[in-house]
Symmetry: C2
Subunit: 545 residues, 2 copies
C-alpha cells in the first residue's frame, strides 16, 4: 500500500503531472457521457471520477490504471436499474450508488478471499464478442439523444449539432494525429493531442449553444449542475438489496475483468507485476468510494489508461492529479457545464465505442480455431439479443462450454514399437509393431471430470476392436493431473477389467501424479503394475500367452 | 430405434418378465411417494410411470434403465412450482405437466443438436454433494407428513404409524436380505426380495388403516383416486411459459445427469455402449409423454435401474411389462389405493433417500484432493442453504471453479541438461546443468484462457531471476493444445521479448499443435526458431554470447 509514494523520486513528477492534466481533460466529457449511458445526470460522471481514483491509488497495484466511469459498466448499470426505478429519478440515483456499494463489497470480499483466479472464466474470444455486442448496444442507445427525438422522429437542430459533432470526431480520429505530426509535434504528443478532440468538440459545441441559444431551440443540455463537491453520504433503499445482488455480482465480475485486461496490457509493456488480489481490493475500495460520493460503478478503462500511460504516468500520482483537477472543475464557477449539449455528448459516446469494435480476434480465430470464432459471434449475438447481463452469463457458459467440449474429445493414440528401438509411437502415424495380447494407449490430456466418460468409452471401443488383449497399458506421459472424478473412473475401469480377466497397467506416470495416486487405494488394488517406461511394460507383457 | 426388439430372442424373455414384475412392485409405492415430494396427488406418480418408460423403450439407448419419478427431480419440481401455484391445486397440476413438457423439449433439442457433452459440467464430488444436500432436504420435507402435523406439534396415531413404518423399513434394510438368504434364497433373489420391503410395509399399513379406521382417527391417506388410465391431453397455462423456462433448463440438465450416471454404471457392467445423444432424445420423449398423461418430470433412477438390472432385465421389454402392470393396477378396482396412509409413504421416502447419503466420495476426496472435498461440502451446503435450484448453479460453478483454479496454477519446470546425455530434466529434482544465456521452461499443461496469465507471470518471474538470459526456449512436450486466447498470449510474449532483445523459441511441439500453429501468424513472426528437440535448441543456443 502506497509503496509507490515511499519510493517517489522527483524525476517521476513531470510525467505524472502531464498525464494527470491530459487524463482530466479526457475524463470530463467521458465521465459525463458515461453517466448519461448509465441513465444518470452527467455530473454523476464527474463525481465518480474523484474519490474512486484516489482510493485506487491507495490500494490498487497498477501504476498506470485510470479508474472511473467506463462504457460497458455504465451500460450494465443502466440494465440493472431499468427494472427498478425511472431513469433520472431520486430513487434511481440512490440505487446507482447502492449498486456501486454492493459491487465494491463483492470485489473487496473476493480480494480478501484471494480468489483473483476468477478473472480466468472468460476466454479472449468471448471477451471480444462481449465487447463488440456491448459497444453496438451502447451506440444504438445513444441514437435518440444524437437526433434529439425518438426515432423515426428527428429534431433538426439537435440532429445538425449531433451530426456535426460526430463528423468532426470521426475526422479527428482518422486524421488529427497525422495532422499534428505534420505540424511538427512528436509522434507521442500528436497521439495524445488527438485524444483531446472530444474535449475540444464539447467546448466548441457548448460555445455554440451559448451563442445561438440552441437550448431555446429545443436542443437538450445537461442543465443546472449542483455547485461544489459531492457530499459524502450514503442513502440506501433497504427494499432493494436483494434485487441488486445478482446485478452487483455480474457487474463486480466485469469490473474486475475489464480492469485486469487493461492493466495487464500496460504492465506487460513496463515489465511491472500485477497482483490480482490487490487489484480486487483497489477496485472494491474505488467502488465503495464512488457510492459514498454520489457516483455509480467504476472500473479501470483500457482507452483512458492507455492515454495515461503514453502521456507519461509513472505512478498513481497522475490519477491523484486528475482527481484534484476534476474537483477544481466542480468548485470553480461552472455555469458553462449547464449548457453542454447532449447530442454532442452522444456523438462522443458513439465514436468512443466504435473504438471498441475490435475484429482482430475474430479474424485470427476464424483461421485458427472455428470453435473459438463461434463462441465470439454467439456471445456478441447473445448480448445484442438478450442484453448485457445475460451476456455475461452466456460468456462464462460459452468459455466453459468450449473448454468442456474440447476436453470431451481427448486425443488418445494406440502405440506400437518402432522396430529395433525402445521408442513407441502412434501406429496411425508411424510403422510400429503391436502385440495381439497387449494394448498400449497413450492419453494426451489431463484426466478430469470433463473427459472421464470419453476416455472410458474410447478404451471400451479399443478393447472391442482388439478382443485378444490380455493387458491394457495406459501410457500417462501426457497426463499432468488426475482429479477425484478421474480417480473413480480409473477404479471402475480397473474393476471392470478385472471381471474380464484383463490386466490394467500404468506406464510413464509423472512424478507429481504418482505422488498423488499413492494417497489413494488405486495402486494397492490395481489389477496390474506401474511401469517406469513403456519399454519396460512391453518387455514384461508382450509375447506372453 | 427398437434395435433390441428386432434382435429379440426367446431366451431373454424370462429375465425381462421377472424384472418387469419386481420393478412394478417397487414402482407403485415409490411413484406415489415421489409424487408427494413434488407436491402432487400420489396417483400422478403412477401416471408418470406408464407412458414415459414406454417412450423411453422406443427412443432411449440403455437396455436396463427404469424411467419414472425420481426423488431429486421431484424435489426440483416442487421448488420450481412452489412460487407459482398452491400445492395440490388444479393450476399446480397443469404447471407440473407443463414443466415436464418444457424439460422434455429442452432434452429433445439438446439430443437433436448433439450436445450430450453437457453432462460433463458436473464433477463427481459436486454430484455427490448435490445428492447429499438434496437427500437431506427431501427427508426434512417429509418430517411433517411422517408425524401427521407441523412440528413441534405431533398427531399421535400418525406418528405411531409413521414411526413403526420407518422402523420396519430400516430393519428390513439392515437385515432382510440376510434373513432371506438364511431362509435359503440365492444371494440375488434375497437382495431383490429385500427391495420389495416398501411394498409390503405399504400393504400392511393400508390393511391396518382399513381394519382400525385410522383415517377416522385423523391419519391422512391418499384419498379417492380417479379410476382408470389418465386421459391423453395437455392443458397449459400460457402465462407461465416464461417463469417455467429457467427451472425447465435446470431440471432438464439434472434429468440428463442423473439418468446418465445410472445408465453408465450399468452399461459398464454389461459392456454395453451408451449414446448420450440418444439418451437425451429418449429422456425428452419420456418427459413429453409424462406431460401428456398427467405426470411430472421423470428420469432414470439409479436405485430402480439397479433392481431392474439385477432382477434380470435384458432389454427395455422389462420396462414395457412394468408399465403394463401399472396400467392394470389403475384399471383394476383400486379403492384400496384411497386408504394408503401418507405417514407410511413419508417413511418410505425417508428410508429411500438415506440410501442416497453416499460418503465414499467424500472419504476418498479428503485423502486424495482437498479442493474436490471442499467443492463437495460446499455444494451440499449450498443446496441446504439456498435450495435445490440454486444448488445446480452452484454445482456447475464449483465444478468449473476447481477446474479453472487448478488451471491457473500450471506446473512449469526450469530444465537443465543431465551431464553427458541428451536428456533435460527439472533442475529442482535432478542435478542438471544450465547456461546463463538460455532459459529452458517446460510447461506441463495445455495452454488455454484459464492459464495464459499464470504462464506469462511465471515467465516474467523467471526472466527477472535470470537477467542474463538472451534466449527463452518453451519446451512444449506436455502441451496437448493451444487455444486462441493462448495464441494471443504467445504473440504478446513474443512482442515483449523482441522489445527486450530476447529470442523466443519453441521445442518439442506436438504434431497436432504444430499443425494448428501453422494456420496462425505466430510462427512467421516468431522472434526465434522452432526446434524438434530440446537438445537441438541447446546445441544451437547454449554457450553463445
Amino acid at each position: 500500500m502506497l509503496g509507490w509514494l515511499k519510493q517517489y523520486r522527483r524525476a517521476l513528477l513531470a510525467g505524472d503531472v502531464s498525464a494527470g492534466i491530459v487524463v482530466a481533460m479526457m475524463m470530463i466529457p467521458q465521465g459525463m457521457a458515461y453517466a448519461m449511458v448509465s441513465g444518470l445526470p452527467p455530473v454523476a460522471g464527474i463525481y465518480a471520477s474523484i474519490l474512486p481514483p484516489l482510493l485506487y491509488a491507495l490500494f490498487g497495484s497498477s501504476m498506470t490504471q485510470s479508474v472511473g466511469p467506463m462504457a460497458i459498466i455504465a451500460l450494465m448499470t443502466a440494465a440493472a436499474l431499468a427494472p427498478l426505478a425511472a431513469a433520472g429519478s431520486g430513487l434511481y440515483m440512490v440505487l446507482a450508488a447502492q449498486l456501486a456499494l454492493l459491487s465494491g463489497v463483492v470485489l473487496l470480499a473476493c480480494g480478501l478471499l484471494r480468489i483473483g483466479f476468477l478473472a480466468n472464466f472468460f476466454s479472449r474470444p468471448v471477451m471480444s464478442g462481449f465487447t463488440i455486442g456491448s459497444a453496438l448496444l451502447i451506440a444504438w442507445g445513444q441514437l435518440a439523444t444524437l437526433v434529439g427525438a425518438e426515432l423515426p422522429h428527428l429534431h433538426v437542430p439537435s440532429l445538425l449539432l449531433g451530426g456535426a459533432s460526430l463528423l468532426l470526431l470521426l475526422m479527428a480520429r482518422a486524421w488529427l494525429a497525422r495532422l499534428l505530426r505534420a505540424l511538427g509535434l512528436s509522434g507521442r504528443a500528436a497521439d495524445i493531442g488527438a485524444r483531446l478532440a472530444p474535449m475540444l468538440v464539447v467546448i466548441g459545441a457548448t460555445v455554440l449553444v451559448a451563442l445561438c441559444d440552441l437550448a431555446g431551440a429545443g436542443v437538450h443540455t445537461t442543465g443546472a449542475v449542483p455547485a461544489g463537491l459531492p457530499g459524502l453520504n450514503l442513502a440506501v433503499s433497504n427494499a432493494h438489496w436483494r434485487p441488486l445482488l445478482q446485478p452487483a455480482l455480474l457487474i463486480g465480475f466485469m469490473i474486475f475483468l475489464i480492469s485486469m485486461s487493461a492493466a495487464q496490457t500496460l504492465a506487460l509493456k513496463r515489465q511491472e507485476k500485477l497482483h490480482s488480489n490487490l487489484e480486487l481490493i483497489g477496485l472494491g475500495a474505488a467502488n465503495i468510494g464512488s457510492a459514498l460520493s454520489g457516483g455509480f460503478p467504476v472500473t479501470g478503462s483500457m482507452s483512458r489508461s492507455a492515454v495515461n500511460f503514453s502521456a507519461g504516468a509513472n505512478t498513481p500520482l497522475a490519477s491523484v492529479i486528475t482527481a484534484l483537477l476534476l474537483a477544481v472543475a466542480l468548485v470553480a464557477p461552472n455555469r458553462w457545464l449547464a449548457l453542454l449539449p447532449l447530442p454532442t455528448l452522444a456523438a462522443t459516446i458513439i465514436v468512443a465505442v466504435l473504438g471498441m469494435l475490435e475484429l482482430e480476434t475474430l479474424r485470427v480465430a476464424l483461421r485458427y480455431d472455428r470453435g473459438d470464432a463461434l463462441a465470439l459471434v454467439a456471445t456478441a449475438a447473445g448480448v445484442l439479443a438478450l442484453g448485457v447481463e445475460a451476456g455475461v452469463v452466456i460468456g462464462v457458459m460459452l468459455s466453459m462450454g468450449t473448454l468442456i467440449w474440447r476436453a470431451s474429445r481427448p486425443h488418445i493414440a494406440v502405440l506400437g514399437r518402432i522396430a529395433g528401438s525402445e521408442h513407441f509411437r502412434n501406429i496411425e502415424r508411424y510403422p510400429a509393431g503391436t502385440d495381439p495380447g497387449v494394448l498400449l494407449l497413450r492419453i494426451d490430456a489431463g484426466l478430469f471430470f470433463g473427459n472421464v466418460e470419453a476416455v472410458n468409452e474410447r478404451i471400451e471401443d479399443e478393447l472391442a476392436a482388439h478382443p485378444a488383449v490380455r493387458h491394457l497399458v495406459l501410457v500417462l506421459s501426457g497426463v499432468n493431473a488426475i482429479d477425484t472424478s478421474a480417480l473413480f473412473g480409473l477404479a471402475e475401469l480397473n474393476q471392470m477389467l478385472r471381471h474380464r480377466g484383463i490386466g490394467l497397467h500404468l506406464a510413464e506416470v509423472k512424478g507429481p501424479v504418482l505422488d498423488r495416486l499413492k494417497a489413494s487405494d488405486l495402486l494397492a488394488t490395481l489389477n496390474g503394475k506401474v511401469f517406469l517406461s513403456t519399454v519396460m511394460a512391453w518387455d514384461e507383457l508382450a509375447g506372453k500367452p
